[in-house]
Symmetry: D3
């Protein structure tokens, strides 16, 4: 079965990472993955959450929101009162994933907020936020490194995320809109560049999945994530 | 390394499911798993969320909260203004897991709200909510079945959940408090009684994990879930 | 007219107070009064509200909530945004009643939060919260006394509460559900063990009441409260 | 002991009720009781709360707020987010008291909102709201009566409220600021003009009170309320 | 075309400023402008907003609210959750206008909150709040001056505001209700007593306006504001 | 005095309007005015606010928000609970301005929401939202016109807005960041292409301004707006 955009089942969408998109931020990228577009920007503050006071250790956290018309029909702003459950789940995932490769002790008592704002949503916004978030964090950290605030880069490894879906019985890497919305089951994988997992989430949307399917998903996702590491590295080298 | 409560690595905590705990509810259980205690109760309403209006299809949703002193130090109530991100994540997981075994079309336009209220939290409250939630839902559905509202039981399979953690390098089934809080990585598995996965969530809390570790976790979790199916079945048979 | 549950007009429902129900709390009980069941747990914090800063004096406050399915039809959680007027009124009453027998100056600058969570509501939850709250507070204070934090027990007297209703023209002690919901008028009395009143609240729900009725209500309530003092004392002695 | 403002213990403060204060309202008064000043205005709406839909019956409800500088130090507005527990308790009391003399069935499916806004607070604002509220409601109802919307006046009796406090051991009618703030115990009584009670609330603020004290309070309050009925009647007659 | 209340096009409504209306406030007036009535009261606090900490400079801010029945149909309270956009806009304008004539540096680190509460709204409540606010602020400042807290009066000039509307093609000073609600365009002018502008706001409600109209509006408004300065001065002199 | 970016006092910043930026929206542009960048997108819904039900008339409304890192230091999201006063003021201005040139009756009972999301804020975001909003609305309306839903274009004229500031005594068109933040006074002008005013707002931030200054501001602003009309027209012609 050919994919709607004629990609191979194991083929990522075209990816472009534009560094420095929001010029005031300590680090910022626009990541485009097919029609999905997310601005990810990093802000440093000289304070930490209460549970880290006087620990000498820093923190990385994320916020995630969609512009109202990033979606095919308008999504009301969270500002109507509270952050939706979906948004909270995503921002917790992004924060956890980036902390997973950061040497928090080396940050000192500083917080880094990673704002992920979706300009256009065509599936995979949470994993694009992680993949782009790594580059934005790298940019912020290397600026502080150049300024002598950090003695070395407080990153232990790269991190990137990708989605996989089971759609009409096929296992597809990096699903686009329809392949995501109508998936039988839906997976988000986050790995570091040592080949280890930071997060595996597999949800049966319409149909439970077997262990065999899970194994195939993990192999396909790992392949995609390795390509994302190369794209991240090329973006950083190009600076 | 012996476990703090001297269980074997592949041993569940003692589990007791008391049916009919909240007598007004359509279905209700108190599930005790070691020192974790959760009341799960099911309420039916003759209405559905807007996206299901005139679809002929029903819905199952969950709410999750902890009593303030279910925890070692007092946790302020969500009622202070908004539901915490953690609570939202859990209630979304519980709802999704129970919908995964329910024949929603057979419900008619009816909603079932599954309230999970934690009396005492000693790890594993979200998976206990799923395991107990299945029994509470069974009780509610069978009452409606007896009343002739349902022609057959709208459940396709059992569903149960279990946690696994990597703690001091050991892979441990159904971790208790310390094994959960200080885990290197933390997994929640939800399966149906056909041996398929409904949800796999694996999070590196302190340390990324290898594919080998994930494989071992999945095997251990499946073993534990099979025992939970037996406990559920015994509870139901005993009515 | 016999009562629905065949009690005499001046007869309390069966009462059971189980100490130590939530094991993490400084003091905790489950109080069951007929089908009404409330968990009351006490938490100490080493801080006081702003108006007591640097006063050397402590504070006792209460929070009250019902599990959604404690009631015959589901009551939505207060967490939807704000605490209902009824809940606020009750928690203010419970806090005031318990402060009425506590030597606040002897607490030092410490706060005691008394969480009252209703598992099942069959009338009288606010007075049961007070009656059980006294025992939970006693347990918390005596633990701190044993630890040498308090030199003596900072309680001046026992405190307990009871409801009385006028129902179909009869004055009934400790009304159960129907006798409460359909009462002509409804009274809550709180007394200390010196025979003094801490709170008298009498509300004409459907019918104003005469001075004679009020006098009879006060006599009946006092009789019930004296029995509650004995049950509290027996629970404490049994530890 | 002479009172601060040299009144006798059984003497009300000077009371003035100005009808028609907010000219747009269906009924409106400014009630001044000593230095306490409250605007009470009534609004009719052709709708009822959900629980009265299709019942043919109406409703009376109240809202209560203080201007920020009605108090000696500024009280922040409730609009900062939520209505304070105290405000909720008061508006529930005012609504209940006014419903206690209204023939709700005779209203048809109409709601009457009684807004009580405190311009200056020198004790007794809640009972002044009830006493003034009766006149405002009378004005609104008689306007509707004149318009032929009501066939007869849907009021069964007058209603008024008064405070009594125990202050430095003396029982004082209608306490002013200091006699209220520093009272040992504090009572609010609401009666109808048949001499029956609609609400009795007695709270031990600093000291529990005996049955003898309660008896004296009830007698004193009843005397004050009878005078309030005369003032209400004179205001209405004067129109 | 004669005006509804037979004023000349360049004639203000009758204005009365009653000083000392809320007796507890540092400064307070009731300003009546035709049927519009606003209480404006000033509260001093010995603290400043975060951005002025350690600056030695003070602040003046305003809050604005309407009593629910100040309007022809009832306006629900902002306290239902959030301040309406209109209220926020007005209180920002009032605060800005009063700061425009205050020597903030001479205040020291003190905040002055100007509460504007509308008892009756018949157009022009925001400009009446400014005009009355100046007098209330003057009263508060001169009290502090007499107490020696201020060495000199920290006011550089008078400030007052007035509305002008284009209604049925006529340019009208100080419009009343109908002339405001059904205006083609609507102007609010704030000036100091040196003849300079502090704020000009001109909004085309139903019809855009020409430069000629704007010129005429500015001339008419200035004339009205000069009269307001005289009324303010007379009020202050009369103390 | 040369400007920081060496523009002439009457020179606009370079402006670029990119149509079709958010591809799902009915109409969308990215407007860049110097370093200020705003996405403006229009959504149609087949419903109107309550006050227009059954009127046959439509509505245009706006929402405005800034990405957290659009500013030099991070601005917390409004989603923390409520929309800031500044955001509300801006979105009310944008909505009013666009309604000022729209034939609302010709829309039928349809709402158009204009979302203005600031990617980068370097002064003038509210007027850029209006200028860009006109083009986005034009795009949305012409799509509906092509589809035959509108018989003619429901726009009566172009509309655009510009800021002017008095900065170090100079009157400057279209101020950039520093010229805006540190302005003595600050003006926003909105005009239609018939040369009439829709909105004039002039605020003395640090210094009141004379009638002469206001006259000069109006002339300068009108000149700038005429250029904006040409840029809008060129963008539309280029489609």
């Amino acid at each position: 079965m050919p994919r709607l955009d004629s990609r191979a089942p194991d083929e990522l969408r075209p990816i472009r990472i534009t560094p420095g998109y929001q010029t005031y931020a300590e680090g910022s990228v626009l990541i485009e993955q097919g029609n999905t577009r997310v601005i990810v920007s990093v802000t440093m503050e000289e304070k930490v959450p209460p549970f880290l006071k006087n620990s000498g250790t820093g923190w990385v956290t994320a916020e995630y929101a969609m512009l109202p018309r990033s979606t095919t029909t308008r999504t009301p702003r969270d500002s109507a009162g509270k952050i939706s459950g979906r948004s909270q789940e995503i921002q917790r995932l992004v924060g956890r994933s980036l902390r997973g490769v950061t040497d928090l002790a080396a940050l000192g008592e500083r917080s880094f907020t990673v704002d992920c704002d979706v300009l256009q949503a065509d599936a995979g916004t949470r994993t694009a936020s992680i993949t782009g978030g790594y580059v934005a964090l790298y940019l912020a950290f290397s600026k502080l490194h150049r300024l002598g605030i950090f003695k070395s880069m407080p990153l232990r490894s790269q991190v990137a995320g990708v989605s996989v879906s089971v759609y009409k019985g096929n296992i597809l890497l990096d699903p686009a809109f329809d392949e995501d919305c109508n998936a039988e089951s839906d997976f988000n994988l986050v790995m570091n560049s040592r080949g280890e997992f930071i997060e595996v989430q597999g949800t049966a949307e319409k149909k439970a999945y077997s262990r065999e399917t899970l194994d195939a998903v993990l192999a396909l996702g790992e392949k995609g994530i390795r390509q994302l590491f190369e794209i991240q590295a090329a973006t950083i080298k190009g600076l």
